[in-house]
């Protein structure tokens, strides 16, 4: 139990992954499939960001050199450890990829509705075999 609480980010991410996978496979409405795909992708982002977290870490700006930001949070935590910036940068790129796929899939959904008149994948059967 203690392990689940200390790894709670990963556990929630895996639950979301399974919910997304379930929605992708079992739901028949096209919009629900796209929403499930988004949930699937978002769960992986949550897991990545949890990887890069460091307890008692500040966010990644070096406060001492920048005249725009105050040193309050550094004084509050009392430690000089900075968080790992690599996963955050990766997730910026991955979020953009998800947006691209969603934009493209939505335009396909518009066309599917115009051709078939329905959003139910059980009725969209132009291909056979």
């Amino acid at each position: 139990m203690k392990t689940i609480l200390s790894n709670i980010d990963y556990v929630v991410s895996v639950i979301l992954f399974t919910i997304g996978l379930y929605g992708l496979v079992f739901k028949h409405n096209v919009f629900k499939k796209l929403l499930a795909l988004n949930i699937l992708e978002t769960s992986v982002y949550l897991s990545y960001i949890a990887l890069g977290d460091v307890r008692l870490g500040k966010i990644t700006t070096s406060w001492a050199k920048s005249p725009y930001l105050k040193d309050a949070i550094a004084a509050w935590t009392g430690k000089e450890i900075m968080v790992n910036p690599i996963p955050t940068g990766l997730i910026l790129t991955a979020i953009v990829v998800c947006v691209c796929i969603t934009a493209f899939s939505l335009s396909l959904v518009v066309k599917l509705y115009q051709y078939f008149g329905t959003l139910d994948t059980r009725k969209i059967t132009a291909l056979k075999g």
Partner: protein, 528 residues
């Protein structure tokens, strides 16, 4: 050995020409095809220069470092590179020349083919997507970093979804939707696998991760390191799942049968010829052998039986479904699924001969399947026929096209002087040496089934006289006409790629030593 700037300039040049393609299409319509063809030609020249440089290097890899701006410090004290490294090894360079060659031929072919299929205003977008697809695939074979791999995979993947959907009719839209959803699901599995790999090795560079995994599996590793072995097993499982979806192995092959026939023919040739293999099997080889080290015995004896079961199902299942098809391109798509099974057989044996056979088959299949899809496209362009049973007597109307199709079909079946025979021979001898006679039976059965469905097409085309109700065109359907033996061949700019590929198929079959030298050296480097 030091890398060249061309490793970076190749994808960047292609994407810059892709950025300007909509603008060129809007302002000077006539310049858009020449610009696309020039960009592909330039990428072909660059890829040959990179390949020559890789061959002439002593250890078979070249490295290009990015991101070491200030101090010139490329490596940290532990040996880990800062920033992204474009590390191209011999296998990657070999894939690169296939990609550039086939993309150039497809762009040349599209000049006449595309205006008949797609409305006028979309042609600029078609060439943009084709250039971005080429850029993504070229980058995939050059890179040496996990996240660079993911972003190139998505770039080429999304371009391929859009290229399938661009001929907007009912079938294409439905096929593209299914393909997009299933392909994205595969990419998410890959991303999750990369997550677990990053969590246990702490680096995003592929080759440094290999040394870290060696430390984890070393016999004298301390306790906290052996704890990470579970993460490596889980990462391997997720990555194999993701790559299985991307290369259409048996249980998850459904998207390929819908997506590849629904695309325009040059795009089908590119998808079946290179995309499904580079994004799926080439990276499976690289992950399994270079990074995870399957040949070093870390995973016990679990992997070969699992892969052999998948191979049997894919090779037999693909061929059996192909026999039942009536649409020509759908039959070719199922044949692709069967050939993926062949390539997996070589990987499953984890030996030098098996890998040589697999890589050689990847190369040969790119040539053969590209040739077959382009021939099918020429037939569709000239006569509009998509079903096999309507192909009666077309051998007399389009002799060059059907001649090339016959040579491609004979090569797919594995007839000796053509290229398909050599790679199948390597696979058979490798499975005999490794002691899996069931693979020999499966591969020979699959070749026999391939003979059935390919010879059927060739027979209908040449040996069945055309019916009285000829001319199954869209304009005049079913008029009774006099049977004429006029030759109505496809235009020259569509015939040139066909003839080039046919000559390559014959040449690579007779002079098989030339690719074999490269391929066996690549397999040696992988298994070091």
């Amino acid at each position: 050995m030091e890398g060249t700037h061309l490793q970076v300039l190749l994808p960047v040049g292609l994407i810059v020409s892709a950025f300007f393609m909509p603008v060129i299409f809007r302002w000077r319509r006539k310049l858009s095809e020449p610009v696309a063809i020039a960009a592909s030609l330039l990428s072909l020249i660059f890829s040959w220069l990179i390949f020559l440089r890789v061959i002439s290097s002593s250890e078979g890899t070249i490295q290009y470092f990015l991101g070491y701006s200030w101090s010139g410090l490329r490596y940290l004290p532990t040996g880990e590179p800062i920033g992204i490294v474009m590390r191209t090894d011999l296998l990657g360079a070999f894939m690169l020349i296939q990609i550039s060659g086939l993309c150039f031929l497809a762009t040349l072919y599209s000049k006449r083919y595309v205006p008949h299929l797609i409305p006028e205003e979309k042609i600029g977008f078609y060439y943009t997507l084709l250039l971005l697809f080429t850029a993504g695939m070229s980058g995939l074979s050059i890179t040496g970093d996990f996240f660079n791999f993911y972003i190139f995979l998505e770039l080429s993947g999304i371009s391929s979804y859009a290229l399938v959907a661009i001929s907007t009719n009912k079938e294409s839209t439905e096929a593209a939707f299914k393909y997009a959803v299933i392909g994205t699901m595969g990419s998410i599995f890959l991303l999750f696998g990369i997550l677990l790999l990053y969590a246990s090795t702490g680096t995003l560079n592929m080759f440094y991760a290999a040394t870290q995994i060696d430390k984890i599996f070393a016999p004298d590793a301390p306790l906290y390191l052996t704890h990470f072995r579970y993460h490596i097993y889980a990462a391997l499982g997720l990555l194999i799942a993701g790559f299985s979806i991307k290369s259409a192995f048996f249980p998850v092959h459904a998207w390929l049968a819908d997506a590849h026939p629904a695309a325009p023919s040059p795009v089908s040739a590119l998808l079946s010829g290179i995309f499904v293999k580079i994004s799926g099997l080439f990276y499976l080889i690289r992950f399994l052998f270079t990074i995870f080290g399957a040949h070093k015995g870390y995973y016990g004896f679990f992997l070969p039986p699992f892969f052999i079961v998948v191979t049997i199902l894919t090779a037999i299942g693909g061929s059996v479904f192909a026999i039942a098809q009536t649409n020509l391109k759908r039959m070719l798509a199922f044949s692709t699924i069967a050939q993926m099974g062949y390539i997996l057989a070589g990987i499953a044996l984890i030996s030098k001969d098996g890998l040589t056979g697999s890589i050689l088959h990847i190369f040969n299949h790119a040539l053969m399947k590209g040739l077959l899809f382009l021939c099918a496209g020429a037939i569709i362009y000239k006569t509009g026929i998509r079903n096999i049973s309507d192909l009666r007597g077309i051998g007399y109307k389009m002799p060059v096209t059907m001649g090339c199709f016959t040579i491609g079909a004979l090569a797919m079946m594995g007839i000796p002087p053509l290229c398909g025979f050599m790679s199948k021979w390597y696979l058979l001898t490798a499975s005999a040496k490794a002691g899996y006679p069931i693979l020999i039976v499966v591969l020979l059965t699959s070749s026999l089934l391939a003979a059935i469905y390919y010879l059927r097409v060739v027979g209908i085309a040449f040996f069945v006289p055309p019916a009285r109700h000829n001319n199954i065109n869209k304009t005049n359907g079913g008029q009774i006409q006099e049977v004429e033996h006029r030759i109505e061949e496809a235009p020259i700019s569509m015939l040139i790629p066909l003839i080039c590929l046919t000559l390559a198929v014959i040449f690579m079959g007779i002079f098989v030593r030339i690719p074999l030298k490269v391929v066996s050296r690549a397999a040696e480097i992988l298994l070091k």
